[in-house]
């Protein structure tokens, strides 16, 4: 319905505006304008096809080179004139094309389009103004016609009962404002035009002619061109060529380059245009010096293209920048006589320089610039684009494929720096390289490395020369360890540990982590390193889990799960704050930190691993303690919380989520139903994401059997006086030897008051029922002990932590704790649970993600 109405209205208005157009356009101008319009269209096409960039550059160059015209000398004069005219002419044609589009839009009453086109037109006029050319009558004419049609449309709008499209209406009012403003600006011209359009036209032509005597020639050619296509084609190409050969001669390059560089960063600079100019310049650059200079400028301007920090660079631009960096490296690598340095002596930008030049020191041309910063930026932009692309789409995958070329570029840069012995950038570039491969499985690294093998410039450290990925990473890391930069060393260390953990080399990874002493200093590190540390620790926990080291895995993962901010700490998602709203800056900073999706550690898998570990540790413990007092001491608070929650549930349906599975499995384990527990755990789907899932499941089944036996013994020991070992072995389908071993262990550790009767093959329980008084006596002894402990702690705090007093207390306990905590290799079990542990606990996870600090302390 609405469309119908609008259509009717549209046709109405367009007709009327058509009529106005007819009325307003003066008789003698019509023939000029009409043939020009189609010609302009064709011209535009041609420009787009071939010399789009060059023609644009011409127009902008013309204002740059205006001042240089004088010095250029006489022999260039005629060509120069032609060029200016052609540019001017072209602008006119462009303007007319815009006018045509506007006219068309007017016909269908599309004010949005009109508004856009008008903006374009105003911009062109502005440029015209910059070159101090007179305002073409065409513009004035359009202005006047627009004014009237805007007024008409507005009037019609008021009459119409139904409102027009909201955006359209908005555009219309905006147009009204704009037109009003423009009319005011060019009031004199408009008045003059209104008085006598013909005179105005004449005046303009006269002005133009005066300015450039050669002007009429191309002006005449343009209308003619509409008829003769061939002719016009030829004419335009010569103009372009002429311009180019003149503009982009070897000498001109440096001048142009300087012009571009001066325009860089200014408000009105069209960045796309600059890039086009530089591309052209690169094509004609002859000497290495020129090419290096142009490439340096070109790559920087590509990076400049995107001014906002939030969005990523367009992918095509990125790709070309990547290719150009490659080119740059190739040139510099091939010509050792050219060096790119961040700090050089001042040199004349406009002068061509050669290594043979006696002015150059040691015959090396030093050019200001920095390849490493380009590589850094390329890599950063790559990450940024991955952050912004939806990870579930194909676009993400496509983008990810670009990592190969990026990796090649990094390797080339590394090779270059290796050859030139520049240690500082070499360290940085190696770090970049390491960051691309440390968390990847072997197959991916092989794919990346094979691309490097194919490249012409190769670094000394390659997969082929090192044999294995671990070897490669080792070589890279060792270089970084030896380099002086402590930040790089830390990051290399963490990456190395991560890699070991990924390859199930738990012991090496753990030893490296402990020997690095990073857990003590990680708090003062920057956020990115803290994130890497968290990732490493988490991966280490997963590694322990895969290796079947349940206790270690549980202890490692516990810290991050007690914070309940797993995603945030791993930079895989922004934490939703319940009581505090992040400022936009904080949020932005947080977003920038996020890892691209393909680097994520699956948090669900992580949680499953952690909860299963907790179950295996916690359930037997729960069964072993019988007083409520002791129950409060939980090893794994998150797990205990979930378990309590599951206990309170009135009705439990079949398990759906991973947590449900684990909770029900825990219940089954508590009841001694190890088979059910095993089935529930093994049916968790997320295991399929774990490498070697089958082996892990098998390992879990075995652990469940053992812990099931322990839980069973703890739970049901009070109800038996003897229990046959063979029965136990049947129930838990464990070999008799294993059962004996487990029971013996429990007896030896005094967890179970029982002993074995070898001849009967039974466990004999010696349970003593305590009388009420005895129980109370024990409780009071415990409480007195606890009180003393409290006193000691209070004194500790008063004395300011580790004084001579602390050592004394430890010594009294007959343990060598004090010494052990100072050990160089504070092994996990030993450092945990000691007095220092209270402080060390939270400390083991790097939590301070910048903005989090105030919320934690407050």
């Amino acid at each position: 319905m609405s469309r119908f109405f609008r259509n009717a209205g549209d046709s109405d208005s367009s007709e009327s505006s058509d009529g106005e157009e007819e009325l307003l356009s003066s008789d003698d101008e019509a023939p000029v304008a009409k043939p020009a319009a189609p010609a302009a269209k064709m011209n535009m096409d041609r420009f787009l096809k071939g010399g789009d960039s060059s023609s644009d550059s011409d127009s902008s160059d013309s204002d740059d080179s205006d001042d240089s015209d004088g010095e250029d000398g006489n022999e260039e004069e005629p060509q120069q004139a032609i060029r200016i005219m052609s540019a001017q002419e072209k602008r006119l044609v462009e303007m007319e094309a815009t006018g045509k589009v506007m006219e068309n839009a007017l016909k269908i009453n599309d004010w949005v389009a009109i508004s856009n086109e008008f903006d374009k037109l105003v911009r062109m006029i502005q440029r015209q103004h910059n070159v101090s050319e007179p305002i073409p009558p065409f513009y004035v004419r359009t202005l006047i016609s627009l004014e009237s049609s805007v007024n008409n449309a507005l009037a019609k709008e008021k009459e119409a009962k139904k409102k027009t499209n909201a955006t359209n209406a908005k555009a219309l009012t905006a147009m009204k404002q704009k037109v009003k403003k423009s009319v005011k600006e060019y009031e004199v011209d408009v008045n003059k035009f209104n008085a006598d359009p013909e005179a105005f036209e004449r005046e303009y032509i006269a002005l133009v002619v005066r300015e450039a005597p050669a002007a009429p020639a191309p002006r005449a050619a343009v209308p003619g061109a509409g008829a003769d296509d061939e002719d016009q084609n030829g004419e335009f190409s010569t103009v372009i060529k002429g311009g180019k050969s003149m503009q982009f001669s070897a000498e001109g390059i440096l001048k142009n380059l300087q012009a571009v560089q001066e325009a860089r960063g200014k408000k009105n600079t069209d960045r796309a245009e600059q890039i086009r100019i530089l591309e052209k310049l690169l094509e004609v650059a002859v000497t290495s010096y020129q090419r290096i200079r142009v490439l340096l400028a070109l790559v920087s301007s590509r990076f400049d293209y995107n001014s906002s920090v939030a969005t990523h660079m367009p992918i095509e631009l990125w790709l070309s920048a990547q290719r150009e960096v490659d080119q740059l490296v190739a040139i510099v690598a091939a010509n050792p006589t050219y060096a790119i340095q961040e700090i050089t002596e001042d040199y004349d930008e406009l002068k061509e320089r050669f290594p043979e030049d006696p002015e150059e020191k040691d015959g090396i041309v030093r050019i200001r610039g920095s390849i490493i910063s380009f590589v850094d930026r390329l890599d950063d932009e790559f990450t940024k684009s991955l952050q912004n692309i939806d990870p579930h789409g194909t676009e993400y995958i496509d983008r990810l494929k670009d990592e190969k070329v990026l990796y090649c570029t990094i390797c080339r840069a590394q090779a270059f720096y290796e050859n030139t012995n520049q240690d500082e950038p070499l360290g940085r570039v190696i770090m970049r390289r390491l960051e691309h491969i440390y968390s990847k499985p072997d197959a991916v690294v092989q794919a990346l490395e094979s691309a490097v093998e194919a490249s012409d410039i190769k670094p000394s450290m390659r997969l082929a020369s090192q044999g294995t990925t671990s070897g490669l990473i080792h070589a890279l890391c060792v270089y970084l360890y030896k380099s002086g930069n402590s930040l790089l060393r830390t990051r290399a260390m963490l990456s190395h540990i991560y890699h070991h953990a990924l390859h199930n080399d738990f012991h090496t990874a753990r030893d490296m982590l402990l020997m690095s002493h990073l857990q003590e200093s990680i708090h003062s590190a920057d956020v990115a390193t803290q994130i890497l540390y968290n990732r490493t620790v988490v991966q280490l926990g997963l590694c322990a889990f895969r290796c079947g080291l349940i206790k270690e895995a549980q202890a490692t993962l516990l810290d991050i799960f007690t914070t309940q901010r797993v995603k945030e700490l791993l930079a895989q998602g922004v934490h939703q704050q319940r009581f505090q709203v992040l400022t936009p800056e904080q949020e932005k900073a947080e977003k920038q930190r996020q890892l691209p999706f393909h680097m994520h550690i699956n948090t669900e898998l992580l949680e499953a691993a952690f909860l299963v570990c907790s179950m295996l540790v916690e359930i037997p413990l729960l069964a072993s303690i019988d007083s409520d007092e002791l129950k409060r001491k939980a090893i794994s608070k998150p797990f205990r919380r979930l378990l309590d929650f599951a206990d309170r549930q009135v009705f439990t349906g079949p398990p759906e989520s991973t947590r449900d599975h684990i909770m029900q499995a825990s219940k089954a384990l508590q009841d001694g139903e190890w088979e059910q527990c095993r089935d529930l755990i093994q049916s968790i789907k997320i295991w399929s994401l774990m490498p070697e899932a089958a082996a892990v499941k098998e390992m879990l089944a075995k652990r469940i059997q053992e812990q099931g036996l322990r839980t069973y013994l703890f739970t049901y020991a009070p109800h038996y006086s003897t229990l046959s070992l063979s029965l136990l072995s049947r129930t838990f389908s464990l070999p008799l030897r294993a059962v004996t071993s487990i029971v013996s262990k429990m007896i030896w550790n005094e967890e179970l008051s029982a002993s074995l009767d070898q001849s009967g093959g039974v466990v004999v329980f010696h349970r003593i029922e305590l009388s009420r008084a005895q129980q109370l006596a024990q409780t009071i002894a415990d409480k007195v002990g606890a009180m003393l402990e409290q006193n000691e702690k209070a004194l500790d705090i008063k004395m300011g932590g580790t004084g001579g007093w602390g050592d004394r207390a430890d010594g009294n306990k007959g343990e060598k704790r004090g010494e052990q905590t100072q050990e160089r290799r504070g092994r996990g079990e030993r450092t945990r649970g000691t007095r220092g542990g209270a402080r060390g606990r939270g400390a083991r996870f790097a939590q301070g993600l910048g903005n989090e600090m105030p919320s934690r302390t407050g």
């Binding site: 012991h507 002993s755 001849s759 003393l788 006193n791 004194l795 207390a809 092994r827």
Partner: protein
Amino acid sequence: MAEYDLTKRIMPYLDRHLSLPLLVHLSDTNLFAAQDVQIAQYELAKATNMPDYAANLFSQIYPDQEVPAEFAQKRQNTMLTHQRLQDEAQAVLDVIENPDVAQALRQDKEQNLQYLKDNYNLTLDQIAALYHFGQFQYSYGNYSGAADYLYHFRVLSTDNDLNTSAQWGKLASDILSGKWDAALQELDTLRESIDSRSLPGPALNQLHSRTWVLHWSLFVYFNHPAGRTLLLETFLSPVYLNTIQTSCPWILRYLAAAAILSRAPPPGATPRVRNALREIIKVIQMEEYQYQDPVTAFLKELYVEFDFEAAQLQLGRAEQVLGDDFFLGEFSADFLDNARYLISEAYCRTHQKIDIRDLSERLNLSPDEGEKWIVNLIRESRMGADAKIDLDKNVIEIFRPAVPVYQTVIDKTRGLHLRTSGLGQAISRLGMGAQQGQAEAPAAAPAVAVR
């Protein structure tokens, strides 16, 4: 059993001369081809100043070849050098051995040096001649002579590097000449200087020094009568335990063996020695991934897995390994005895009724011997009152009455007094600094509360 031989791992951390006895021992054990061992011996001896020995070895290995002429040449050189160095050193020695001088020398080295310089015109360079001669003597095998000269040098010299070097030299000489008491003393001073030294260099140097000390001390500890206890004392101190874990996990074998050997520590042993086994088992478990041999496996099977059969199996293998080991060879029988004891102890503690025949089997003994052994065990050990042998059924019955509740309460509260007074002292010390009078009140409070 060749795979459990540690010679190859230990040798890199030993001096050339210290390795020779190891190789000689190897040639006795027949673990490796005799020819190979001899060649290794020859390669070692070639670079020492013992041309006769090297030549001798050469002719043994290649009986059909002429002994290379270089040995004769070398012999000649050695003699000449010896003469020269001796002359130099003699000058110094003459002065030192003068009774007047001996009396005049004091503790202060600087002063001594000044004294010698003023009265006898002895300079530091001349004193260094003592060091060189000592070193030279060591290199051709005159160890006791070397020890003498190095000792004198150390007394006089102020050069730190050379002093350290002389210390090592003296230790090696003492070891090789079999003066175990002296070696033990030397070892202690050396260890002290390494541990106390705050080297400007990287911590790695210290680690290396400690690794060397660990290896060299094996000679001393397994030859000195009280060595095993001392070994536990030293090796279990955190710094050395770390060194073992970091750079030489195979030392764990000696640590484990020493712990088993000193199962019943002499009275007055430190808690570290008494709890050695527990500590070592923890470490063995931790380092399992990088080092394992029958000795450590035995402890692991017994105390971690409680698999008595496997433990017994490992014990059999450990016995062999021990027999072949240079350091532990002599202690093989002793080790076996103690290990048996450990097995039966663990067995008795977890079992209530034990078939004697079965236990004897576990201990690799015949039933008769087993019975004797068990009776001895019961008599010796603390469980004497609880265990009874029932000959009729041929079983031992162990009645282990549960610990009375009151006992546990007493145990729990036993330490409280001491800790509380510790608290009080700490507070009074704290108060001492600030104000004398105020310290009394808070000190009394916790003590009262606890009691």
